[in-house]
Subunit: 492 residues, 2 copies
């Protein structure tokens, strides 16, 4: 397969699709809309998951596991939630296959094995979890419940794209239960902050923290908080959401607790999730026409060493030196691979690891060893230089931190350059078409205007930023008064 | 809820069911046959998973993720495999719900959203994975493929029990592809050994490694290797299996590779898996009438410290000393909890942690502190003694190792005592009914005899042990000649 990618300028969407497959992150599968996450993509997901999991545990959460299936009667209990997800539900109706009497060796669904009640494959787990919490919560002493689940979910999407929108995806979903509204809101914001820290510090993707408008809320939530990132094509991507669910699920599933005064109250809820979609954000925020650019902190491989030699004897010399370097790198906790596969030439390997976004490439040749140096190449800036073998591991460790920061700053600069104010409708439309990016503009606060803007421009309100300044203005479409700007963009 | 358990002698099965729920490992759910794995149970599973994952990676494997769904046409491609799982398949037939026109607020399956081809929820992933491997394997250079997946699977079981047999369960499934039969067989045995090491060294459960008879093989395998453990009621439990799949799946999915001589050959396969069922084995192998007994290496909590004090001032003294002890324990990598919850009395806590099987309990009182000691209780032997606070952490670390070994030895002794030879049919039946356990006996090697023995006694051939001695004898049922004994038991 050719390593050559369509350039971003030529066709950004095509570039993305090719990159995911050629860099061996994921593959299409035989199942409509479902992806195969390949080992390199899964190793990235493991690093992301492990870091997030650590952050969840540090904030007092524990993991548990709830059923994949939601009986229809439970699914429909919280009406708004059910309505929101109904049109994308995969439904199990039977539990057995039998031999096809008309086709030897083939199977058919056994009509006699029809379920009395259909089972929905979880598109999200509020229903099954709150039905379970009912049995776990009696008193204020049982609260808060701070539980997270790592799981697969299914949403039957019609137009799918690897990582960004797939019928099945992997995610985590936190589901917490609290005695007071204040505590639940605090939890919602706390987890939004955990997401923001993770995405900025580990994925090197700057995000805007904000609140969704009513029409963009999670189905069944009182408030949806989100982090929004900007991709290189100027489109926004929602990278994570944290929902304050009020008492909606507690009421739907009759989950009450007796407070300190022995009074029965409904429990307050939050839920929050991020998914393999984050990998799409990572790719689109940093990568270039040569391939992926992985942030060192979560890169499956941080350093690759490519030996350059002639003959067996030459290889033995390079191998011996590489062994020492690798030990030193590993001692500093650096993830390193030595690629001495003799089926491929160094040039091919260089292109391969560039495509895969390995942050640092070290070429180690016989002449280099004579001079006690290596040739070191940064994936992010493509800078190459000769570096002394003495102290190389310490140098590389510092360089990985520098790269992490560089990638973040670059993405931040891009976002800063591509966040603009629009004060008139004409400016708004012109900016959207000519520059894309985030547009900060006044809106009259009504869902009607929001809908009209969406219909006319495909731009949506990404969020009302949490750190928004109050400012008098007039709505770009309706001309009605407004107290603050909101953030618009076309989005994934 | 009462902490009191039914005793093992009274009703072993009831004891198990109560223990799983009361120790908060798992709970029944609203979905038939599906369990909720509660935080304590999930923490145990995480420890098991992380250790296994490490062992898989150390033996050269990488993780990936394949779709939950298997289109029916792929599912039926390997006929024996399909036939073996057909009767327990959950089937997705529709992808949308709509409002029920006759019941406001309720939903029905949208008859217009029927899938053209039904999707099977994976009961195991050979079909979807080998269909994918077809696109990944062209040449001998692409081999071996050493991939593992951590996932949920669904097998529609009619009689379910928490952990032991549930409709949905969590597991890992390794799926490897090789250029030669020898290499595939070697991989099959290697992973069996990994499982045996894990179960013995971490779960402290001794296992017999063996090969299944033809009728007990995995559907679609040429050979199934297994590890078999003995539970305290004398029944066997299959704790893990590793399958040599020959070229069956390569042929079903047309997966060929060109070898070094450019000759096209079918690829050789293995698959191997262990599941949350292992938790059932862990419980039944070690626990007693007071509750769980957790092997320290994978115990979610290794040490619990219960403070005993009077008044605020007393608490401050105990807290301060506990803080120092906890830091010392943590510095040695010991998982410790300080339970200073003032809603429960020490005695209640003692019973609670006994029920949960925490290996070491430390009671820390004001008088103890005056004497520079703690009261330390082992969960396994229930021994209590006074131990000096000086050097406590080092003492506890060694003790945890001792407990791990003690639990294993106890289970091994139990198995040794409960593995017996039977040379006649009468002896065999008598041993089964009076003593249970493993019975080593001659069998004529035919599936017919195996089936008759099963029908008459409910005992099955658990395996032909790998380290079996050859020995002439006659089949306990048919009287026909036999070259070796096989291992019988009634099993879970």
């Amino acid at each position: 397969m050719s390593k050559e990618l369509t350039s971003r300028a030529e066709d950004y969407s095509q570039w993305y699709n090719e990159l995911v497959v050629k860099a061996a992150l994921a593959d299409h599968s035989a199942v409509r809309g479902c992806m195969v996450i390949k080992p390199y993509g899964y190793a990235l997901w493991e690093n992301m998951r492990d870091q997030l999991d650590k952050m969840f545990k540090e904030t007092g959460h524990v993991n548990a596991y709830f059923p994949l299936f939601v009986p229809k009667s439970l699914f429909e209990a919280e009406e708004k939630n059910a309505e929101g997800f109904a049109k994308e539900c995969a439904v199990v109706t039977h539990y057995r296959l039998i031999a096809d009497p008309e086709n030897k060796g083939k199977l058919i669904v056994d009509p006699a094995a029809k379920l009395e009640e259909e089972l929905i494959i979880r598109p999200t787990s509020e229903a099954i979890i709150w039905n379970t919490y009912k049995g776990w919560i009696q008193s204020y002493r049982d609260l808060p419940l701070l539980i997270n689940q790592w799981a697969n979910v299914v949403r039957w999407e019609m137009r799918t794209r690897l990582f960004l929108r797939t019928a099945e995806f992997l995610w985590q979903e936190g589901h917490t239960a609290h005695a007071t509204k204040e505590e639940a809101v605090e939890e919602t914001v706390k987890m939004l902050n955990v997401y923001a820290s993770f995405v900025e510090e580990y994925m090197a993707v700057p995000v805007i923290k904000g609140v969704k408008t009513a029409s963009e809320r999670f189905a069944g939530a009182e408030d949806t908080y989100c982090i929004e990132a900007l991709m290189q094509d100027g489109k926004a991507l929602q990278a994570g959401t944290s929902h304050f669910l009020g008492q909606n699920f507690a009421k739907a599933f009759d989950v009450k607790f007796s407070d300190k005064n022995n009074k029965l109250e409904y429990v307050w809820a939050t839920s929050w999730g991020v998914s393999t979609r984050l990998i799409g954000a990572l790719i689109m925020a940093h990568s270039d026409d040569q391939g992926l650019v992985m942030p060192p902190k979560i890169a499956p491989l941080q350093v690759v060493i490519v030996p350059i030699y002639k003959g067996e004897e030459g290889k033995a010399i390079v191998d011996a030196k590489a062994k020492i370097i690798i030990e030193e790198l590993k001692a500093l906790g650096i993830r390193v691979k030595y690629d001495d596969n003799d089926n491929a030439r160094p040039g091919w390997k260089f292109a391969e690891y560039e495509l895969k976004g390995v942050p640092v490439r070290i070429a180690l040749g016989q002449r280099d060893i004579d001079n006690n140096v290596v040739e070191l190449a940064r994936r992010d800036t493509k800078e190459k230089k000769s570096v002394s073998i003495d102290g190389l591991a310490v140098y590389v460790k510092a360089l990985l931190e520098e790269i992490q920061q560089y990638i973040f700053n670059k993405a931040l600069d891009f976002r800063t350059e591509n966040t603009r104010k629009a004060d008139t409708w004409d400016d708004f439309v012109k900016l959207l078409d000519e520059k894309a990016g985030f547009i900060s503009a006044h809106w009259d606060g009504t869902p009607e205007t929001e809908e009209k803007i969406k219909e006319q421009t495909k731009a949506t309100i990404r969020c009302i930023p949490l750190d928004n300044e109050m400012e008098d203005g007039v709505c770009i479409l309706s001309g009605k008064p407004s107290k603050q700007r909101v953030l618009f963009a076309r989005a994934y």
